[in-house]
Symmetry: C2
Subunit: 131 residues, 2 copies
DNA sequence: CGGAATCCAAGATGATACTG
DNA sequence: CAGTATCATCTTGGATTCCG
């Protein structure tokens, strides 16, 4: 078992701060999708409205088809993104934020904008390349 | 070179939505640290106040020494976390949020709390395990 | 056009051992 | 206590190819 000392978190404490600190909290899963390298950008990119796969691909610099598809599936499965495929040829698929997705997206956008705004101070006195 | 078609983002567009969509935007670097698997939890864990290395280790379930150390270094380098080492034996090191760090931490906390609150709806109709 | 499948390189993470 | 170094592993991400 070699169980690590279990979190000393009291019940009230758990209620107050949530349970993300627990290793197997399901929130971590969603958090992982939302804060993933591409998840953040996909969510923010969808804020202006419905977009097609290739629109997103172009908009999000550097993303590969594979990652875009996977990220969209994660978010769709988390009910944050809606996917509508029209049965035409060539295929036409539209992605948009669900009401739920819009909420997270706005929060994530806020975070991103904060970083961009304060980037100057952050990079100010860097010593190492910091990876 | 095989250079991918450069982002077609117009100037005004860049100014409006920031430049995170550009593959080499430095914001992505910081974003990566802040939204990393452990970065999120470290920031939130530090909100209540100064803590020692082992405090954080215990608080954040599942994190390894290695990852905690590395994450703290990223955040310190990004000027989001302050590190104070007392020259005593055994070592005593304290970590805390900088004013800048506190701002991000609060935003991140908001995001985390939102997810925990809406977790029910998110997991509601899951079909796949969604990794 | 919008993927799915495959193969492979790079990076993240963990366990362990060692040190000031 | 607070790390660092090393090694093994698992995951992420990218390039390519193929398909409806």
């Amino acid at each position: 078992m070699t169980s690590r000392t279990p979190p000393r978190t009291s019940f009230s404490e758990m209620m107050r701060r949530g349970q993300v600190f627990s290793p197997d909290c399901p929130s971590r899963e969603v958090l992982k999708h939302v804060t993933s390298r591409w998840g953040v950008l996909v969510l923010v990119a969808l804020i202006p409205g419905t977009q097609r796969f290739s629109d997103l691909r172009r908009r999000i610099g550097g993303i590969s088809e594979r990652m875009l598809a996977q990220t969209l599936q994660w978010l769709e499965n988390d009910r944050l993104v809606d996917r509508v495929a029209y049965p035409v040829v060539p295929p036409h698929v539209e992605y948009s934020l669900t009401p739920l997705g819009r909420e997270v997206a706005l929060r994530v956008e806020g975070l991103v904008e904060w970083i961009e705004t304060n980037l100057g101070q952050i990079l100010a006195g860097r010593t190492t390349a910091a990876e």
